[in-house]
């Protein structure tokens, strides 16, 4: 996108939407804040006013630990008989790509003169990253988190509190990310004049999907440069897991113009791709693969919803993917055929988790494990040179993995009984 035409307000439709997706479907009270953010996005992020992006990049380097390596995975390459490279976002400070966006937004809030930060979190990685960024930049911070997610992601709750952040439990509905987002929107509607809501993925009203993507795009920019340096060419395919889609868009964005590179967004297939209409339950979070168009949390996008338009409870073994919506830009890229939606089930993801831990000495997040599960199932379709984004590390998921592994007969799992009662 050109940054030289800022004097001319670009056409709203091309600005706020991706094809038919996106937009700004929020309560009137939030509209001025959304528009204020739109201005700040254009000035600071797109035009580097006051050296904003320079400061962001410097802090991502010194505080965040960028650039992250692109590592050749030797044993996976051998196993699949092709070149497999891992983009190591698990090595970003805090253990996940989430810091790229959280630090960017908290810094932006500071430039905008906001006094308080709020955010929601599912797996806890976004909450943790926001808490760290807020402490780093000396901003008061509160995080909303579903009660179910608090129970399955305790280490991250502790980390947030260590950084001086309040964690507010949300008990509505199934107590997961969807409910936490609703609650954060309500807080924002009350405090909008002084508070910035750090949305954790490429979702929500414009400009959030673009803002978050631009902060995350560093993943793909680095990976693109690194693979050309290492392999002498662009990859045949790039694989990333997709929940809301922030690591997905961050990884894909730089490759979208490269038509020869296939892009695979791997969603959580949960226990089944079939919808339980009677109980309004999707036993998966595979929105790109099975969702239908609608409006949720500020944007038109693909959703898991009933025929009447009620949003379904989604499911994934990975809290970070457990969301009934997805970023509008990904919906668009899928519709135009640039991104291929895919999914693997809980079991394939757990096997992916154990396989990478065993073979490469990297314990991946359960989110990333879906991409690794897809690699195992579909490697023959992915060409000779493959980049897989390891979006985060799996320390936060150990309890879940041990519990879920004990319940199943997993081929890739070590003997975990010694960890039992």
């Amino acid at each position: 996108m050109s940054t030289s035409d800022h004097d001319h307000r670009r056409d709203r439709d091309s600005e706020a939407t991706f094809g038919e997706y996106g937009g700004q479907y929020v309560p009137e009270a939030l509209m001025p804040a959304v528009q204020e953010l739109e201005d700040a996005y254009e000035r600071y992020v797109l035009e580097n006013e006051d050296g904003f992006m320079d400061e962001f990049r410097e802090r991502m380097r010194d505080f965040g630990g960028r650039p992250t390596p692109l590592q050749r995975a030797e044993r996976l390459s051998e196993r699949y008989d092709r070149e497999i490279y891992l983009k190591r976002e698990d090595l970003v400070h805090g253990g996940a790509h989430k810091l790229n966006n959280a630090l960017g937004q908290v810094l932006l809030a500071k430039y905008m003169g906001k006094e308080r930060i709020i955010a929601e979190t599912g797996a806890g990685q976004h909450g943790t990253a926001t808490a760290m960024a807020a402490a780093h930049l000396d901003m008061p911070c509160e995080i909303y988190m579903g009660r179910t997610d608090i129970n399955r992601q305790r280490p991250n709750v502790y980390r947030m509190r260590m950084n001086g952040t309040e964690v507010n439990p949300v008990t509505a509905g199934s107590g997961t990310l969807k409910e936490a987002i609703n609650e954060t929107m309500r807080d924002w509607a009350t405090t909008v004049e002084t508070t910035h809501y750090v949305i954790g993925s490429v979702v929500g009203p414009h400009p959030f999907p673009k803002l978050v993507r631009d902060f995350q795009a560093v993943i793909g920019q680095e990976a693109r440069e690194q693979i050309r340096e290492r392999a002498g060419r662009l990859p045949d395919s790039v694989v990333a897991c997709a929940g809301g889609g922030s690591n997905t868009m961050g990884t894909f964005h730089a490759f979208v113009p490269d038509d020869e590179v296939d892009l695979y967004a791997v969603e959580a297939g949960g226990s089944s791709l079939e919808i339980d209409e009677e109980n309004a339950l999707a036993p998966n979070s595979a929105t790109l693969s099975t969702g239908t168009d609608g409006v949720l949390h500020g944007a038109m996008t693909k959703l898991l919803q009933s025929e009447d338009g009620q949003i379904m409870e989604s499911h994934s073994v990975s809290a970070g993917l457990d969301y009934a919506g997805v970023g509008p830009e990904l919906s668009h890229l899928v519709d135009i055929g640039r991104v291929t939606p895919a999914s693997v089930d809980d079991e394939a993801a757990l096997n992916g988790f154990h396989r990478l831990s065993n073979l490469e000495g990297i314990i991946p997040a359960l989110e990333s494990s879906h991409a690794l599960g897809y690699l195992e199932e579909q490697h023959e379709e992915l060409g000779d040179l493959v980049v897989v984004n390891v979006s985060g590390r799996g320390d936060k998921d150990l309890e879940t993995v041990l519990e879920e592994t004990e319940n199943r007969d997993l081929e890739a799992a070590p003997d975990v009984e010694v960890f039992g009662q």
């Binding site: 479907y25 309560p27 509209m31 969807k178 309500r186 909008v192 409006v295 949390h297 009447d308 338009g309």
Partner: protein, 287 residues
């Protein structure tokens, strides 16, 4: 002049009430709406429940959950409206996704057509700002329905003017930031509303185009009196009525009594008004 605007002008100062349809059942809602109509409600908003009500506070969210648990669907909602015979015009309040999903593919028109057929007079959509409202606005215009816009404490300048110029039926003036919910603090509610009214220059009843009604936090006759006295054309009450639905042993009688209290309060506010006599409000035009 639309049914809604006519009702407000004719019954000025107007009492506008909200209930969630299907809480605790559609049959109960029918009895409750009729009680509000008898008690003096001049317009009645019916909420079509959506699973993610981001603009609502805990009271209405709980009502929506009860309605969804009871199996309330858009089809059932419209059947209820088909059956209702009230003096007060009815509006539907729901979220945009519910409107989009009615019919075979995402499109606002089937919903609006069905709403018009059921006899609804208008639509309020809390998550649809003016910027995104063109398709729904066009469909409402085609079917003679009002699309009611909300003006928030943060709405200022050009946006405020644009919304005021696009509004039909009435403008919903949000008294304070935050979500819906009854407040006990008379002073705060009144203070906030007064401030808002000054900003919106509504010192004359029905002045400056469409009528203005104030909601968010109104729960008592005294609140209604103070808001009307400050120059609003109507007060909007929701959560305080939901509390009665949820807690009362005799919701029908208590809803009717509450509507009477609120309407009396509104009239008291108009009588104590300083700038104009509401009885002088213009007669509604004949269609």
């Amino acid at each position: 002049m639309s049914d809604i605007e006519a009702a407000i002008r004719e019954h000025h100062p107007a009492l506008i009430t909200y209930l969630t349809a299907g809480d605790p059942s559609l049959e109960d809602t029918k009895a409750y709406v009729e009680a509000l109509d008898r008690g003096g409600a001049d317009l009645i908003e019916l909420g079509l429940p959506f699973s993610e009500p981001i603009a609502e506070g805990p009271t209405i969210q709980a009502a929506i959950n009860r309605a969804l648990d009871a199996g309330t669907t858009p089809a059932g909602f419209f059947e209820l409206v088909d059956d209702l015979e009230t003096e007060a015009p009815l509006l539907v309040m729901t979220y945009y996704n519910m409107i989009l999903q009615y019919g075979d593919e995402p499109d606002v028109r089937p919903f609006v057509e069905r709403a018009a057929e059921a006899g609804l007079s208008g639509i309020i959509v809390p998550d649809l700002p003016a910027e995104e409202s063109d398709p729904l606005r066009a469909a409402c215009d085609d079917h003679g329905l009002d699309l009611v816009f909300i003006v928030a404490p943060t709405t200022e300048g050009e946006r405020l003017e644009r919304i005021m110029s696009q509004a039909s039926g009435f403008v919903y003036v949000q008294a304070r930031l935050g979500t819906t919910g009854a407040r006990a603090d008379v002073s705060n509610a009144t203070h906030d509303s007064l401030t808002r009214l000054e900003e919106y220059d509504v010192s004359e009843p029905c002045s400056d185009g469409v009528p203005k009604a104030v909601g968010f936090g109104v729960s008592e006759g005294d609140h209604a009196a103070e808001i009307i006295e400050a120059g609003a054309d109507g007060v909007i009450v929701g959560s305080a009525l939901i509390d009665i639905v949820a807690e009362s042993d005799d919701p029908v009688a208590d809803l009717e009594a509450k509507a009477e209290e609120l309407k009396r309060g509104a009239i008291r506010g108009a009588d104590g008004g300083t700038d104009a006599d509401p009885i002088d409000a213009p007669e509604p035009e004949q269609p």
